[in-house]
């Protein structure tokens, strides 16, 4: 509250004109004071009203009236200011007494506070801020023993792990998204195969064996409300949605959110994941192109693309990796029914060109084409423009593609904005936060999931962007946050299905630039992803691995189909990826439920003279 100005100040700041009468300043107080000072002088001329300066008499009356108004105005202003100050003090004490109680407070009184506080005339603006901040922390926690930044798969796995190991733990998840934690793989697979027209609302998918589940890990009743987190008897997991952590104070063990709230923590997990990369040529192409481009990652992207697939006539996917190929296949299957043209283009020679050895990548590309996708290989985008109602993509080799909508699936940029304020190291080779083998960045800070560049004791430093890794690393981080001190040991796996005929599971470093040895058998009609789940009776292929992994079955058409057309070659088998003669990665090609053996071989890290002998361990000819 500013002090009332002294008379001296006002006199100094007032301007004086030649007449010696100080001209009025904008401040009524000042005028009032000046008037008060000068009144004796002006009273005197009033006595000379009968003289030649008859105008002086009128002037006098004018001055008196103005003076009286100023007096009244000044008095009113003074009383308002004082009154407001009293009211403000009252409110602050009231809020402080309220915030010390953990009871939940409705936020509406909090909102009216800043409004009325701001109405005071010369009230400094800081008065309203502490009022609103104090009110909001009465609603939400200011301290979380376990703070998880990011609300994705890794974060949820960590929350579960912490709760399992630390009885009564209070875990707070802070996420930018508006959704509760959900699993990502069905967004590019199962949800597209659903027959349910309301799938974009329910986000539930049915697996081959009839089991249905939601993409959300848990329904909202699993979670505790953030306002109750500090008080609920056995602790719980609370999720603060729509809030981004903007700043991290490692020394003070606290973070600041996008709405200004501060939350302190004992242990913190950074599981911020990443955002989809875009092509520069698209970013430079202007708004009309950007409006017609999807960077696919979240639920809202799925909903938007699903709508587009029903309304438009042509979609082009740029990118030939997991996401691009899965989306291409998903859309390709609908293309006939919807009258939709689906195009996929990428610089490599075949789908999954960076993952599968060339012969297998070519074989896969043929399969993708059979799903109804127009595949353009060795396609490098030169520029993209919006012309005559179509998005026109020009390739470097001269080919042109005209389409209605573009999906860019060209990689993920790990979200490491917090590294700056937190003083955390970013890895220059792989991107992401650099952490040790126990996923720790600093004393009380761990990182898991897509954003973590960690040291794998067996395979070296790496960063992995797969679902199961998010689960495994999230779980490990949760264990270490509760004192386990375990390194990354349980090797995560990944899988992909490209239509009903091509499905594979993989583990370790699966990089097509490594030398490979593939051992194949002739496939029968029984060796498909669909058959795998029917046989094992589980709707989720990786249920035996980690329970929180989504179903991975591609849905075929209900009508009886002839046995899948398969060439003699590459029906099913095992592919070993070697680094210095040691197996560092394995792909199980249309061979399922053998992951434990693959994991064992990687863990051993031995040099095997004859990989055919190793392949025997997988019994690829059997079911």
């Amino acid at each position: 509250m500013a002090d009332l100005p002294t008379t001296t100040t006002y006199l100094e700041t007032s301007q004086q004109d030649d007449t010696g009468v100080p001209s009025p300043t904008i401040n009524t107080r000042g005028r009032f004071l000046l008037r008060h000072e000068r009144t004796p002088q002006f009273v005197q001329p009033a006595h000379m009203s009968s003289g030649p300066s008859g105008g002086g008499g009128e002037n006098t009356l004018y001055f008196v009236l103005v003076g009286a108004t100023c007096l009244a105005g000044g008095a009113y202003a003074y009383s308002t200011l004082v009154g407001d100050r009293e009211r403000y003090q009252q409110r602050i004490t009231e809020i402080e007494s309220r915030s010390s109680k953990p009871a939940a407070e409705p936020s509406t009184p909090a909102k009216t506070q800043p409004e009325t506080a701001a109405q005071a005339v010369s009230e400094p603006t800081e008065a309203s801020e502490p009022a609103s901040a104090a009110a909001s922390t009465a609603v939400e926690p200011t301290h979380a023993p376990y703070l998880l930044i990011g609300g994705g798969t890794a974060s949820f796995a960590a929350a579960r792990s912490i709760r399992a190991r630390d009885p009564g733990a209070r875990v707070l998840i802070v996420t930018e998204e508006d959704d509760l934690p959900y699993m990502r793989p069905p967004l590019s697979k199962e949800l597209w195969f659903s027959d349910d027209p309301t799938v974009t609302e329910t986000l539930r998918f049915k697996q081959w064996n009839g089991k249905e589940r939601s993409i959300y890990f848990q329904p909202s009743s699993f979670y505790v409300s953030p306002t109750e987190l500090e008080s609920v008897e056995n602790g719980g997991v609370a999720v603060l949605t729509g809030r981004k952590v903007m700043h991290m104070d490692v020394r003070g063990n606290k973070v600041k959110l996008s709405d200004g709230t501060e939350i302190s923590y004992d242990k913190c997990l950074i599981a911020t994941g990443g955002i989809p990369r875009n092509l520069q040529v698209i970013e430079r192409a202007g708004d009309e192109v950007m409006k017609r481009t999807t960077l696919f990652r979240k639920i809202e992207d799925f909903k938007a693309l699903e709508k587009v697939s029903r309304e438009l006539k042509s979609i082009t996917i740029i990118g030939g990796g997991f996401l691009g190929s899965e989306l291409a296949c998903a859309l390709g299957r609908r293309s006939a029914d919807l009258g939709l043209e689906v195009v996929q283009m990428f610089p490599e020679k075949g789908n999954m060109g960076k993952v599968l050895p060339e012969y297998l990548s070519n074989w896969t590309t043929d399969k993708v084409k059979k799903e109804g996708v127009k595949v353009l290989t060795e396609a490098v985008v030169k520029n993209v423009t919006y012309k005559e109602g179509k998005v026109e993509i020009k390739l470097k080799d001269g080919r042109v593609v005209k389409t209605d909508h573009v999906v860019a699936a060209v990689g993920l940029e790990p979200s490491v904005e917090l590294a700056k304020s937190a003083g955390l190291e970013i890895d220059s080779d792989f991107g992401g936060f650099r952490v040790n083998a126990e996923l720790q960045a600093r004393s009380n800070i761990w990182v898991a999931g897509d954003a973590a560049c960690f040291y794998d004791i067996k395979l070296g430093r790496r960063r992995v962007e797969h679902h199961d890794h998010a689960v495994v690393s999230g779980r490990l981080a949760g264990e270490n946050m509760t004192g386990a001190r375990k390194p990354y040991w349980h090797q995560s796996m990944f899988w992909s299905d490209l239509g009903p005929d091509v499905g594979y599971e993989a583990i370790g470093i699966v990089d097509s630039s490594l030398p490979t040895v593939g051992v194949f058998a002739k496939a029968t009609a029984k060796d498909t992803p669909k058959a795998a789940t029917e046989q094992s009776g589980t709707g989720i292929r990786s249920e035996s691995e980690t329970e929180a992994v989504a179903g991975s079955v591609a849905v075929g058409k209900a009508a009886p189909t002839p046995p899948p057309q398969q060439k003699e070659d590459y029906g099913k088998g095992v592919i070993f990826y070697l680094r210095d003669k040691v197996v560092v990665g394995i792909v199980l090609w249309n061979v399922f439920n053998r992951m434990p053996i693959a994991r064992k071989i990687i863990k051993d890290g031995e040099e095997h003279a004859d990989l055919n002998e190793v392949a025997k361990l997988f019994n690829i000819h059997e079911e």
Binding site: I162, R213, K616
Partner: protein, 137 residues
């Protein structure tokens, strides 16, 4: 008959069933049962229950986690002739808690024991249809 071909750095081997009939002579390293780093199943080497086992689903971490842990620990440590007979109160407490969250713990009669108790995630279609609401925001 198996045959081999080489495509650049990639080797491809085709094998018939007969080729793979003979047992493998590949040597695998012996597993250390007490490996501290290894993920263990439901029961840890020292006899304790591994509450973080994926097999438990979210049973030990959900809203009724404490009740579940109490009940199952009692059962696990029970040395009675009818195992767990003295744990009735814990199980009742757990059941009462679970009834408060029908969405998470749909009422199934054989849901008491842990390994089959993945109440939350992997429901049969009956229960899923029962709870077919779309309000997961």
């Amino acid at each position: 008959m198996s045959y081999c071909k080489q495509e650049g750095k990639d080797q491809i081997i085709f094998v018939t069933k007969e080729d793979h009939e003979a047992p493998s002579n590949a040597e695998l390293v012996e597993d250390d049962p007490n490996d501290p780093y290894e993920d263990h199943g439901l029961i840890l080497p020292n006899g304790d229950i591994n509450w973080n086992c994926p097999c438990l689903g979210g049973m030990a971490s959900g809203p009724c986690g404490q009740q579940f842990k109490d009940a199952f620990s009692c059962f696990h440590n029970s040395k009675e002739e009818v195992k767990g007979s003295e744990c009735i109160d814990f199980f009742r407490g757990m059941q009462e808690c679970m009834q408060k969250y029908p969405e998470l713990y749909p009422q199934e009669d054989d849901n008491e024991s842990a390994p089959s108790g993945e109440a939350e995630s992997f429901q049969t279609s009956n229960n899923a249809n029962k709870n077919k609401t779309s309000s997961y925001s």
